[in-house]
Symmetry: C2
Subunit: 440 residues, 2 copies
């Protein structure tokens, strides 16, 4: 027991569970409905969560994108989403303390634009902005940006590494207190506190400075989720928060320790980098009720949609050539992200599932399912925290609003009772909530 | 007299007047202060304006950017601004009818990203989004995006022309009613109503579709401000609203007629394209009071700042080598935008102004000054409307909040009394307010 407090972020991910949206009380319209996002953010803030987070892909899911040349074709709910960066200024107006974070790809944006947008959000939210750096992992995205195939994996990370240095450099291009707007003297800002970046690297050439003084946090919070070797190196060097797909406590502890050791090698305080495994809480009055609820939601996943959704990870195999009730075949390597392929193989092999069973399980979402009564879920979360397997969690409910409401109104209060999650916000900025390094 | 109604947009441009921010009741903090933007948007909505608009440059002003290698160096207030696109979702939450428009450059963005962002804003605002397409005109911006100099003028417009076709194509990539989210059948959207764009052009290769169904307006409103030959062609073919710098009614009438004739050649209804000259209203109880107020604000422009601000248009001349109270020397041709250089020369020669007088006049902002009592200002606006010199105006006050308050509380009611501006919103979307073509 170490009595550490945990960090908790809500990941509102419409369509993550490909069946739960069909529940009678589910509101699938959350995907494009700002009023529902506002409701979710207010729920998260009332529960004193660190942040609300939204992922992004700059393309419809590959399963639907290859559909015309494929035998599969069930419409994937995950096709429907905003550029989530655009949600953050809106949610800033509806909340006062909650951190606001969104994915934006380093592969198809310019660092000057991205730095300026997240600095703008940091001002608009009074210091609550966070950016999840991804390098994008699929060809559907590449095809929206002039490329036939994606940049090779290690090149993507090399580019991302330079990208984030440029972004940080731009965020640092104005010192604290530079903007004085002195009516008497007529001096608007102190030119000595403005710095040209003059970056010239392998991928970028950026002069700077930004068009605004130093933002409230100095630097918006950096989130990452890389699990590959270059992904871990980049996270250890530059991330404040690392999201991770983990299902085994010992493996998660090893992952966390690995990131921390790498961080030390980069001269960082390892306690300033927070490792948050993703969890999907499925809550019931009893453990059995929760298990039954999970099964009920899984049964709502249309077979065609489940297979459609799995197809892009088949490495070219057409699952229709196989007996869907037979065992999962070996999946070839691809240039795409590795973590999903590994997760699918582990799932099928670990529990000896058929192709269809695997597909339905995969269509429940990728994150560790914590299924049970609130105390059961809290037990697991506490165990992981106490065993240094994490610094908190990214909670990804199955559907809205019930999945979110169950978590914030039943699980979070249990964590608060146990003294492992805050009852009130004590800081103002997202960096305060997370306990990561400050840049002001 | 034709009893046309006019369109009115508020252009909130912190720092446009380089002296008025020093007035005792001015709030220069509006530049990075969301609460002030909210106040401005609410004032504009209460006055039933069509839209609030924000410009952008993805760089600090050239005057400050070249400062290190120059003898000038007064900090330019215009250096301080957000990426204005990030303001729109926030202001959508504080308003219900007001149109929300911002500049975003076609030269340093990807069309897929831009289309998705403005479609997101259109959803978040329930059909009130507008995008001002610019090609960017200065080298300071180019230097933040890997270039030493800017793309050649006609190439920029050729690229912008393809850019907007891609954006429109993406906005049309989902038919109305495609997203059904049918819980019973498990069908989320109608795949027959989703269209791949598969654009392959000279500059872009974009597969599509967008990651969201058709937005409330179908297509967010397109604003442009080009005055060159390719700029007029692009506007006539693709813009809903054209902003323009005009100071002479006959010239403005000729400009409007030119754009309308070009629109007809592109098969468009010329009444669906709105020409809005920029005006800076300076309001007093009497005409004399307004003139005195203009002089008082102009005297607040620091000499050093006025000269700094003029420097980028000097074509390499150092004004400090000249007598600032002497006549304006001939200005060499440059590769930068020509309209500002021409405006400066016309100003100096036309009124026989000294260098410093010219600099101070230029630092009052580029838009036509309407100076006088509310009825005087309304007279001019009505005269321009009645003589088909415009379809309305883009009002650019000198400072916040007074400049905005004077316009909406004194000038707008006078226009309403005369029956040439709406007293209530009759539509829901920005396209309704403007009376431009609908895409749903």
């Amino acid at each position: 027991m170490n009595n550490r407090m945990m960090s908790l972020a809500l990941f509102l991910f419409p369509g993550q569970h490909l069946g739960a949206w069909r529940l009678p009380d589910a509101i699938p319209e959350v995907d494009l409905g700002i009023e529902h996002y506002v409701r979710a953010a207010k729920l998260a803030e009332a529960a004193k969560l660190d942040a609300i987070f939204f992922e992004d892909q700059a393309a419809i899911p590959r399963s639907n994108n290859i559909m015309n040349g494929d035998t599969y074709g069930a419409a994937n709910p995950r096709a429907m989403h905003f550029d989530p960066m655009m949600l953050l200024p809106a949610l800033a107006m509806a909340t006062t303390h909650l951190g606001l974070a969104a994915t934006s790809t380093a592969s198809f944006n310019e660092p000057y634009n991205l730095a300026r947008r997240f600095a703008s959000i940091d001002f608009i939210s009074n210091g609550r902005a966070g950016w999840n750096l991804v390098t994008s992992f699929n060809e559907s995205e590449a095809q929206n940006f002039g490329l036939d195939a994606h940049l090779e994996h290690s090149l993507r990370y090399e580019r991302a590494s330079e990208f984030i240095d440029v972004v940080n450099g731009l965020w640092d291009s104005w010192d604290e207190g530079a903007v004085i707007r002195d009516k008497k003297s007529g001096v608007y800002f102190d030119v000595e506190k403005m710095h040209f970046l003059k970056h010239e690297g392998k991928f970028f050439k950026v002069r700077g400075p930004l068009t605004m003084g130093r933002s409230p946090q100095g630097r918006p919070v950096i989130f990452q989720a890389g699990s590959s070797e270059p992904g871990r190196e980049l996270a250890a060097r530059t991330a404040d928060v690392v999201f991770t797909l983990q299902t085994d406590m010992k493996a998660s502890r090893a992952f966390r320790e690995d990131i921390r050791q790498r961080a030390v090698r980069f001269g960082r305080d390892p306690d300033k980098i927070k490792i948050l495994p993703g969890i999907t809480p499925i809550v019931g009055k009893t453990d059995q009720e929760a298990e039954d609820f999970r099964t009920r939601m899984r049964d709502l996943i249309p077979e065609e949609l489940a297979i459609t959704h799995l197809a892009p990870h088949s490495g070219g195999l057409n699952f229709r050539d196989y007996d869907l009730n037979g065992p999962m075949p070996d999946l070839p390597e691809t240039n795409a992200g590795k973590s999903h392929r590994d997760a699918i193989i582990n799932l099928a092999r670990g529990e000896n599932l058929s192709i269809l069973q695997t597909a339905r399980r995969f269509a429940e979402g990728s994150y560790m399912k914590l299924v049970g009564a609130p105390t059961t879920i809290a037990d697991t979360m506490q165990e992981w925290l106490d065993n240094d397997a994490c610094d908190g969690f990214l909670a990804v409910p199955t559907h809205f609003p019930q999945g979110t409401e169950d978590f914030v109104s039943q699980v979070v209060p249990e964590l608060q009772r146990r003294g492992i999650f805050r009852k009130e916000y004590t800081g103002k900025h997202l960096r305060d909530h997370l306990g990561v390094e400050k840049h002001t």
